[in-house]
């Protein structure tokens, strides 16, 4: 009877071309501002380092050389060695890998859970909204770090559990955002129109609601990458995340804390690395927000 548009029909060539143009224009917008340039370049650079870690790292990040422990930075060990004689530079290079992995996976988990919760809540309204809304409120009542701490303490310390914990803790933020946007979108004419021609709720959500909340979720996801990396560093620092000898920026920092007076380079380098990644994501997120927000764009031009 009726021709049903599936998700795959939407992703056709025209759509991809449109998406490419859109990304291209967004990147251009982002690159126009100083913070955007800094953010984007930093993140691209860090990602490249993470991908090329095995090529770039001068040493195996886990191999110990006890006779060269706590060596200060020199030509052999550019950033010095830690208390087990492991090369700090190599550990940081691999640490970027772990940090980005944690950021992407945990934000992915948060986006997935949060978007589903928020969209369903905002679209259906009524008692569904009441229940999910209260659940979001309860989760939001806990500070991000505390919630992640509780979840990881229950699940037990490991890298997978930490990513799940950080993801779940970020989820209510995404849920709140998605709920608001879904609520606005669900009142638009094209939704009413789709509903009146008998489209299922599921296809309306996938085809009309999600594309409309997509941009704000992307902006927030970028901003939350930074937060997720900080939280995971904090959890690893507390020993609840990555377990040794896996190099994670938070763990290197924690290892160095006992030697902060004797060998400050162990803490300074990973500390700066965390600042760099997080700053990169935050500035990029900010610039993205400006580029994607029509109202702010005019504001930009006025300056």
């Amino acid at each position: 009877m009726k021709t049903r548009n599936t998700f795959y029909d939407v992703v056709d060539k025209r759509f991809l071309l449109g998406l490419y143009r859109r990304i291209n224009s967004v990147v251009k917008d982002v690159m126009r501002t100083r913070k955007g340039r800094f953010g984007l370049v930093t993140i691209v650079l860090v990602t490249a380092i993470a991908i090329l870690a095995p090529v770039l790292a001068p040493y195996d990040p886990a191999s110990q050389n006890l006779t060269a422990r706590l060596t200060s930075p020199n030509t052999t060990y550019l950033l010095g060695t830690d208390s087990y004689g492991r090369d700090i530079l190599s550990r940081i290079i691999y640490g970027f890998r772990i940090s980005l992995l944690i950021g992407v996976v945990s934000v992915g988990v948060g986006v997935a859970i949060g978007t589903i919760m928020g969209t369903v809540s905002g679209y259906y309204g009524g008692w569904v909204d009441e229940i999910i809304g209260r659940l979001i409120d309860i989760m939001l009542a806990f500070p991000f770090l505390l919630l992640a701490l509780i979840i990881v303490a229950v699940l037990g310390p490991s890298i997978t559990n930490m990513m799940i914990a950080v993801g779940i803790s970020a989820a209510p933020q995404f849920a709140r955002l998605a709920r608001g946007d879904a609520l606005t979108a669900s009142e638009k004419e094209f939704v009413t129109a789709a509903d009146s021609i008998g489209r299922s709720h599921f296809s309306i959500i996938v085809e009309h609601i999600i594309p409309n909340i997509f941009t704000s979720v992307v902006v927030m996801a970028t901003l939350y990458m930074g937060r997720a990396i900080i939280i995971s560093a904090a959890l690893s620092f507390l020993g609840l995340g990555v377990q040794p000898p896996t190099p994670s920026l938070g763990l290197i920092l924690a290892d160095g804390r006992d030697f902060i007076a004797l060998a400050p380079w162990i803490t300074i380098a990973p500390g700066l690395a965390i600042v760099l990644v997080v700053l990169g994501f935050n500035l990029l997120g900010d610039a993205l927000n400006d580029a994607l927000d029509p109202e702010l764009q005019t504001g930009d031009k006025l300056q």
């Binding site: 208390s83 087990y84 000898p245 006992d258």
Partner: protein, 524 residues
């Protein structure tokens, strides 16, 4: 049976009222730092759990207890030599069979807070409380005497079924520290844990959880002219780095140094005094001998060959770690070097693994407490094991969780652990506790679930023999056996090193990690 309990509850509520009064008074007094007139502030790693000598929980508890309570048999500070001056007992003597220990108390020893004179009634009451505890724990401490014959107020005899020579050393631990019987009754068993009353050099004043434990000099202390200091404060500081900076800032006067890097920096300073001694202690990584693949002695030997413990001692803890041959520390009686040892030899390790059918290596979980002196060697051993294809996944837990899992034996499925065993000059009790097959957790300290029939027999014979030569031979056999069929990897015997501000005198590092401050003072 019910009425005394009820009475205790009633008195307890009274004690709370009195306690809060004391708290107020404490707030009004001036705050004493490390550099004050005769007031001494000392670092403890954690806050105490229980200051009731009957319920000693950890090193910190014992260290604080030793300043509030006086032991029946005291040691000369910094040594393992009994000192009659520091003892509550004037004399203690075994009969020839080693089955009867007669204690003669000093006359006129007064308890804190006006609880009167120490008599055999207090001793009997104290031992009764110990005997009420878990029977296995009592047996382990060899305090399971048949009868206590009380002759008069100052003389009593412990009568044992079998010779129990090692009991002498138990009387120097909190198990031999006698509180006044009336005080335990008045204050109540639970309250007493944080409101202790003893006959030691310092009186308990106040405890602010996680902040400080305040003691003050006890004027009627039985050793003439002591204590030197007016006040003694213990401050819990879990982080070593924080403790070191508190020391640099002059907030604490004494702390134990656990890192040789820090020690090297402190040794260079003129305004810091270092006191050190070889500890009666063994640091080791332990296997659960019941869990595959550690149930195979070849696997345990292989990991011993793979472990480069020499690198740990020489690189991580230079000058603070002695190489172990036997499981017992060199200064423990009957210690012997006539034992098989494992030189670092990865090739031999791989051979043994292949023989045992683990040529391709294996993977296991290793639970480690989040305490530098354990997690550091564990990380080195982890990388040693990797060289022979054995993958150890470290699970670093806070020490509370670790202790609960390993020591209380709630989880028997932990294949590997790491900690240290404090020892006494007589090996009877700690060896039986660690290696006898019946002494598994939660009551015993056989955390490796070691089960060796010969060792069981030798332990039973050795601990009930008085003949010196026979004891030496039996304890020698035991040390040989636990090295040949090793349930763990002996890493080192730690040195106990303490740093103190140079104006502190009279404190000495102790082989049993006691921290006794009665002779400590400030020299301005």
């Amino acid at each position: 049976m019910l009425s005394p309990l009820k009475r205790r509850e009633l008195i307890k509520s009274g004690a709370v009222a009195v306690g809060s009064g004391a708290l107020l008074a404490g707030c009004l007094g001036d705050e004493g730092g490390a550099v004050g007139e005769g007031s001494l502030t000392v670092r403890q790693t954690y806050d105490f759990v229980n200051l009731d000598p009957v319920h000693q929980e950890n090193v910190t508890d014992r260290q604080i207890c030793a300043n509030i309570f006086a032991p029946l048999v005291g040691y000369e500070i910094g040594t393992t030599e009994p000192s009659s001056e520091r003892s509550l007992a004037d004399d203690w003597e075994f009969n020839e069979d080693g089955t009867e220990l007669t204690l003669t108390l000093k006359e006129g020893i007064q308890f804190h807070d006006g609880y009167g004179e120490l008599t055999t009634t207090d001793v009997e009451y104290h031992f009764d409380r110990i005997l009420e505890g878990s029977p296995r724990a009592v047996e382990l401490n060899q305090l399971n005497y048949e009868t206590l014959e009380v002759e008069d107020d100052y003389t009593c005899t412990m009568v044992f079924e079998e010779p129990a020579l090692a009991v002498e050393h138990q009387l120097g631990t909190p198990l031999g520290m006698i509180p006044p019987a009336d005080a335990v009754d008045d204050i109540g068993e639970n309250e007493f844990a944080s409101n202790p009353v003893g006959a030691g050099a310092f009186e308990f004043v106040e405890h602010v959880p996680d902040e400080r434990t305040e003691l003050e000099a006890y004027d009627d202390y039985h050793v003439e002219g002591l204590p030197e200091a007016d006040e003694l404060t213990f401050r819990p500081i879990p982080e070593d780095a924080t403790a070191a900076s508190s020391f640099d800032a002059g907030e604490i006067a004494v702390f134990q140094v656990n890192s040789s890097d820090r020690l090297a920096a402190l040794e260079d300073r003129d305004d810091v005094k270092i006191t050190r001694t070889a500890g009666l202690i063994t640091r080791f990584a332990g296997f659960n001998c019941q869990i595959e693949p550690f149930d195979d002695v070849r696997v345990r030997q292989a990991l011993n060959y793979a472990a480069n413990t020499q690198a740990i001692r020489e690189e991580l803890y230079p000058g603070m770690a002695e190489a172990p041959a036997s499981f017992t520390a060199p200064d423990v009686d009957y210690n012997t070097d006539d034992v098989p040892t494992y030189e670092y030899n990865p090739d031999r390790a791989i051979e043994l693994l292949e023989e045992a059918g683990y040529g391709d290596g294996f993977e296991f979980t290793w639970m480690v407490p989040r305490v530098g002196r354990f997690s550091e060697p564990a990380e080195v051993l982890q990388s040693n094991f990797l060289e022979i294809g054995v993958e150890a996944n470290l699970e670093i837990r806070d020490s509370g969780t670790y202790t609960e899992t390993i020591i209380t034996g709630t989880d028997h499925d932990v294949p590997m652990f790491i900690h240290s065993l404090s020892q006494t000059p007589a090996p009877d009790i700690f060896l039986a506790n660690a290696f006898h097959s019946e002494n598994v957790p939660p009551d015993g300290g056989n955390y490796w679930y070691y089960d060796n029939e010969d060792v069981d027999t030798w332990l039973e014979e050795a601990t009930t023999t008085v003949d010196e030569e026979e004891r030496a031979e039996l304890f020698g056999n035991i040390q040989h056996a636990v090295n040949e069929d090793p349930p763990g990897i002996w890493i080192d015997h730690e040195q106990f090193v303490f740093a103190m501000q140079d104006h502190v005198s009279g404190f000495e590092a102790d082989p049993q990690r006691r921290m006794e401050f009665e002779r400590s003072a400030f020299e301005e």
